[in-house]
Every structure is written in structure tokens, then in C-alpha cells.
């Protein structure tokens, strides 16, 4: 839509912006001579050099009439004003749609600015961060393994491996330990069923660390997850590529 520029004593900008400011009460409507605004809009509509399309001219006239209506409503006594402000939107679908349209339009303008900011920000890379899409592919098979499958397999492992000792874990039980344990297991056994990765006697913390280690290895692309009909299997990336 072609914007009509308004230039008054206390405002300079587009007509839509003016209405938005008035609706949000960020500009005092009583400090504004609306006849000047209307004159400028009519002048823009009637401009012989660049005449506005009929629908656009109509929209601008509706915006002007909305401003006039708003000012007349705000001239009412306070008690009446409360009622009319409350019912302003409810009894006037046209005004409601204009307000919504203006609000929505302002956010659409911001989207372009945000896109530019994101593009500029993408030019800055922190150390060691591999871009989201540049993470090594997990071989495509990961996409066939749903999160629910993983969670179900994890819960099964938790159920099967009840702790045989008190929950006192070795200090070595860290994420690095979990990753190292999964690596060793896969190296030793090749293809391993998910629930068999966890040792028979282990604490809950160890199960959690092994699971987190496994997720980290999948993220790093060292380990592939395959979801067969019967169960979920793990294998090394090299083995997966050979297969």
C-alpha cells in the first residue's frame, strides 16, 4: 500500500504510523489538528501526478475517519468514555480489523529488519562452533529413530538394570567416562542393541552418563543409531558406512 506522508506541527511520518500512535495513546490526539491531516490525505488522493488507486484511497479515508471517530469518542465524559473504550472494539469490527492490521503490519516490518540482523550475526563465528547444518550427518538412519524410541529404550534399560548397590558412584562417572564406555563397547562388539549397552551392574548415575555419552557421540557423528523393527541398534560410523 502506498503510504501517505503527514507533516503536522507535532508529527511527521506515515498516516498508518500516526494512527497507531494515537490508538496506543502515545500521541495526544487533542494536540493534533485532524483537519490538517485530512487535508493532506485528500491532497495526496487528488494529486494529479500520482493519483492513488481507488482501494488505496478508500483505505486512507477509512483511516482518517477512524481518527475522527477516535477523537470524538475521547471527547465524551470519563464515565461514558470507559464504556465506549471497552466497547470500542467489540461494537466495531471494522475498527478492530484496522487495529489488528496495523499492529500486524508493524511486526511484518520488523521481520525484515530481524532477518538482516540474523544475516549479519551469522557472519560472526565463535571458536569451535560448527554451524547447525554442518554437523556431520548421522547417516540418515538417525532420522528413522524417533525420540520416543530412544526414550522407551532408555526407560527399559533403567527398569532392567536395577541398582545392585547403593547409589554411591565413582568419581570417574562423568560424561567423558560415558562416551569412552560407549566407544569401547561398540569397538568390542560392533553392532550393539541399545539396551545391551548398559552394564548389568551399574548405578542410575552411570546409566544416565552412558546415555548422555551416547547422545553426544551421535551428535558428533561417531555413532549411528539404527531402528529395526525389533529393536534400536548402535554401530560405529565406519561400520555404518561400510554397511
Amino acid at each position: 500500500m502506498t503510504e501517505v506522508e503527514i507533516d503536522c506541527e507535532n508529527f511527521a511520518g506515515s498516516l498508518t504510523k500516526l494512527l497507531r500512535l494515537l490508538l496506543d495513546s502515545e500521541l495526544d490526539i487533542f494536540a493534533l489538528r485532524l483537519e490538517h491531516v485530512v487535508e493532506q490525505v485528500v491532497q495526496a488522493i487528488m494529486d494529479a501526478h500520482t493519483p492513488l488507486a481507488v482501494d488505496e484511497a478508500g483505505t486512507h479515508l477509512v483511516l482518517c475517519s477512524t481518527m475522527l471517530r477516535l477523537k470524538s469518542r475521547r471527547l465524551l465524559p470519563v464515565e461514558d468514555l470507559r464504556q465506549t473504550e471497552a466497547s470500542l472494539h467489540a461494537d466495531d469490527p471494522a475498527l478492530l480489523s484496522i487495529v489488528q492490521g496495523l499492529t500486524y503490519e508493524s511486526y511484518r516490518e520488523v521481520v525484515d529488519m530481524l532477518e538482516n540482523l540474523a544475516a549479519e550475526s551469522a557472519l560472526l563465528s565463535p571458536r569451535g562452533v560448527v554451524a547447525y547444518e554442518a554437523l556431520p550427518s548421522a547417516g540418515g538412519s538417525l532420522q528413522k529413530v524417533s525420540l520416543l524410541t530412544l526414550v522407551a529404550a532408555f526407560e527399559q534399560a533403567m527398569r532392567l538394570r536395577q541398582p545392585m548397590v547403593l547409589e554411591v558412584s565413582r568419581p570417574a562417572c562423568t560424561l567423558a567416562w560415558g562416551m569412552s564406555y560407549v566407544r569401547q563397547t561398540i569397538e568390542a562388539q560392533g553392532r550393539v542393541e541399545f539396551s545391551c549397552v548398559f552394564p548389568l551392574a551399574c548405578s542410575r548415575l552411570e546409566i544416565v552418563m552412558i546415555f548422555l555419552g551416547l547422545l553426544e557421540l551421535v551428535r558428533l557423528g561417531e555413532v549411528l543409531l539404527r531402528d529395526d523393527a525389533a529393536a534400536c541398534y548402535l554401530e560405529s560410523r565406519e561400520a555404518g558406512q561400510v554397511a
Binding site: 503490519e105 508493524s106 550475526s121 557472519l123 571458536r127 569451535g128 554437523l135
Partner: protein, 165 residues
């Protein structure tokens, strides 16, 4: 022996991730003013064309990042691009950013269409987060932006958001 500036650079380099000012002050045993001085010195050093890195300040965190001029080469090294957000999702994000804390229904009222999917996407990407519940019927969830949002758009704070219209 390394200077405070050298130690400051070493900490930021070793972290890779944004480091909170408070944490830096603790580790370096310095105060607010000293840190501000180090930041200014670091920015002076990084502005030299012989340096390929610069200091990025987002909210209360500091991070070393490569300069935009090196972006092409860095992208060749990492062979990747940053994820993109679709326009409709970005619209929802803009509404949340400017009107936060805001409920899903309020976002939908502004957009005129459903936005559940977009909100989920933004939650997954860590750009928005649940910040509480509105004190109204049904106690709907209120959403707000995260520090990751500031990182994604390279903003120091929400005050740096572009003004609409």
C-alpha cells in the same frame, strides 16, 4: 607473566561460549571498572586489521568471535550455514520479543492465525522460553525471549531491537 588483558583473552578463547561478566570478574579477581577497562582495551586491540577476531557483547556475556570480513573463509572451514528461520516463525518471534511476556492466544490475536507450531519451533531452537503463567482464566503460559535470541541477532539487549514503523 601474562597481563590481565592476556588472561582475559585466554579465558574468552578457552571458553568459546559466551562468558558472564560476573564469572570473569570472579576468575580474574577484578571489579566492574577493571573489567570495563579490559573490554575497552580488548576492543581496541581487535579493531586492528591484523586481528581476525572481535569481542561480542550480548546481555551480560562476552564472547570472542571471528570478524565478518573473515566469514567466507570461516564458512569454508566449517562447511556450513547457520540455520534459517522461516518468515511466519520470525513474525511470531518478533511479536514475542516486543510484547513479552505474552501468551499464545495473544500472539494469535495479533497474527490472526494459529501459531502453536511456530512457538514449538522457537522453543526447540531455544530462542524463546516459558517465563511464567498469566494470572487469568486457565493460567496460560507466558513466553519471553532468551539470551540465545540476543546471540542469534547479535543484540546487546532487548533495547537494541529495531523500532517498528
Amino acid at each position: 607473566m601474562l597481563s590481565k588483558l592476556g588472561l582475559f583473552e585466554a579465558l574468552l578463547f578457552a571458553s568459546g561460549e559466551p562468558v558472564e561478566r560476573k564469572r570473569l570478574m570472579e576468575i580474574l579477581s577484578i571489579g566492574d571498572q577493571d573489567l570495563a577497562l579490559l573490554i575497552a582495551q580488548m576492543e581496541d586491540v581487535c579493531v586492528e586489521p591484523t586481528r581476525g577476531i572481535m569481542l561480542r557483547i550480548v546481555a551480560d556475556s562476552l564472547q570472542l568471535v571471528t570478524k565478518p570480513a573473515a566469514a567466507d573463509l570461516v564458512l569454508r572451514l566449517t562447511a556450513g550455514r547457520q540455520y534459517k528461520i522461516s518468515k511466519p516463525t520470525l513474525e511470531v518471534l518478533a511479536i514475542v520479543a516486543y510484547k513479552q511476556p505474552i501468551t499464545r492466544a495473544e500472539v494469535e490475536e495479533i497474527r490472526g492465525v494459529k501459531c502453536e507450531r511456530a512457538l514449538l519451533t522457537l522453543l526447540e531452537k531455544g530462542l524463546i522460553v516459558e517465563v511464567g503463567r498469566k494470572d487469568s482464566m486457565g493460567r496460560p503460559i507466558l513466553y519471553g525471549t532468551t539470551e540465545n535470541f540476543l546471540h542469534h541477532f547479535n543484540l546487546r539487549s532487548l533495547k537494541d531491537l529495531p523500532l517498528p514503523g
